[in-house]
Amino acid sequence: MQVLTKYVFAAALSLVVSSGTAWAAGEAHEPEPQDWSFNGFFGAFDKAQLQRGFQIYSQVCSGCHSLKFVAYRHLEGLGYNEAEIKAIAAETQVEGGPDDSGDMFMRPGVPADFITGPYDNENQARAFNGGALPPDLSLITKARHGGPDYIYALLTGYESAPESFELATGMNYNSFFLGSQIAMFSPLADGVVEYADGTPANVEQLAADVTAFLTWAGEPRLEDRKRIGFKVVIFLLILSGLLYAAKRRVWSTLH
């Protein structure tokens, strides 16, 4: 009976867990799992990759997408030092003020500023993008089923539409996107950025790098989490062993 109980629970639990994700597939292609450096129990970000990804974000995606929950000071997590962060922030112009006479003015960015993106408001963003809204990317890997695998598949998944497919004007065919047509044209192409470290800048590499960066942007505490988790689990395993031994010992006097 005990064995049966176990199986029923295991089967039922897996049913419940898998059901949560099943419907998401809808009509879009299921993205393929990638071998990310941050996967698994000991997963960690590859700092060089994050820096490359940030470079792509800054030079390509930031033209349309904000990253509003990330401040320049957070870039410490990519391995930049204070001076480098100050310099990166200072490259941007943000609105400051009001000054003593009550006027607003433009000033260079500082580390405490957030990465707000190019548009003043949603209407402007839509006006510049044929009615579509480029979403903020700070949480994009957490806000989509499939997470980083989906983002990678999307960025590398542009192809010409099949004959039978009716593509609306201004739309691009991408079978990973729900409905298979997306308002964003393929933002990546071989060599759109030039890497200082000599990494070949083909589309797959670019997509992987920017996706890794966006994963960090969505979950900057991932490394702390896994590191602390490891200690907690080891501690609990030992504690459980001791408690089990103590329990056995006390109960043995009974029978």
């Binding site: 049913l15 419940v16 099943a22 896994k226 103590a246 329990k247």
Partner: protein, 424 residues
Amino acid sequence: MSSESSKFTGLVGWVDNRLPVFSYVHKEYGEYPTPRNFNYWWNFGALAMFCLTVMIVSGIFLAMQYQPNTQMAFESIQRIMRDVNYGWLMRYIHMNGASFFFIAVYIHIFRGLYYGSYKSPRELLWMLGVVILLLMMATSFFGYVLPWGQMSFWGATVITNLFSAIPIVGDPIVTWLWGGFAIDNPTLNRFYALHYLLPFVIVGVVGLHVVALHVTGSNNPTGIEPKSSQDTVPFHPYYTLKDSFGLSVFVIIYALIVFYAPESLGEAENYVPANSLQTPAEIVPEWYLLPYYAILRSVPDLLIIDAKLAGIIAMFVSILVLFVLPWLDTSKVRSARYRPTYKKFFWVFVVVCFVLGWVGAHPPNEKVFGLEWLEVIDVGRITTFYYFFHFFVLFPLLGKFEKTKPVPNSITESVLGASATEKV
């Protein structure tokens, strides 16, 4: 009674003579005579209590940083996740703690169903448990609205709109619940106030639940009452240790989720800020509410009652029926160990509950296994029917017609013959 009667001495004795908290703890958690034959299913009450504590502690820390304002709520959660020291830890503990709380409580309830713990003299104890379940559902519903993501907003929309099905007063009630003509800042504010309040109401009801337990004493896997002191052991150290070990194992699983898969039980859509102009493709509640959601959506028009109202009634009855279960079950035997037919139906019922959960997570018109002739809603209707059949037909009839196995004379007898007795 002015004499110093406490068995404690010194400062503890002095306090105990004036406020007998030490005697109370000693009596109820030290000496409390407990059946010697508990299996690990008896762990889950203590585990639920642990979860409640964890929820309150982590919740209070979150409350120090959270902003219950539609313009700031979503962002304040991101501040907690990114900038507040260990904020991410508190949030993941709280978010997944709700799931583990429900896992513990559901197993606790199914344990009660299996071993007949709801039967006389434990009816009130059981009914207080059902009150706790209802309060938990309300609390988690309000909590889920707080991050103000898409699922928060649309979940709140679907659930509050249910009340509009009530004839005549429905719409005014919904407006009253919302605090306006749409779900907006007043709604979020009151949900936050209630989310902060209800856990403490739960603490109160848990207190009554424990008082009731210590009056009747615990049930046990045989379902027969302890007859001699041989049948029981003092709660401490026997069950304090057994519970601690079980708790430690439970926390390992909880920790694995918190640290290695903190989003696995959540909905990605809730990381998109609430937007009243854009309905998500599919609105699904948290997993622990899925079976009720399935029942809600499965009921067709019934006579003069339209499907929406009928669904709501069915959903509420599916929980309220637990209140009258002690009287629906006519069997003289408590434990399913000695009720071979009930035991089979019990497992059917467990499977039905999981299938209902699956139904709740899928659009009603989706084909099941790609079969042309079978839609999710059909499965939902069959399982919903069975759910009520189980309570309203099987429970009363089984007690009358089932041929039960002989019950052992005492707990000790059943333990000593353990190798021969089937142990569940």
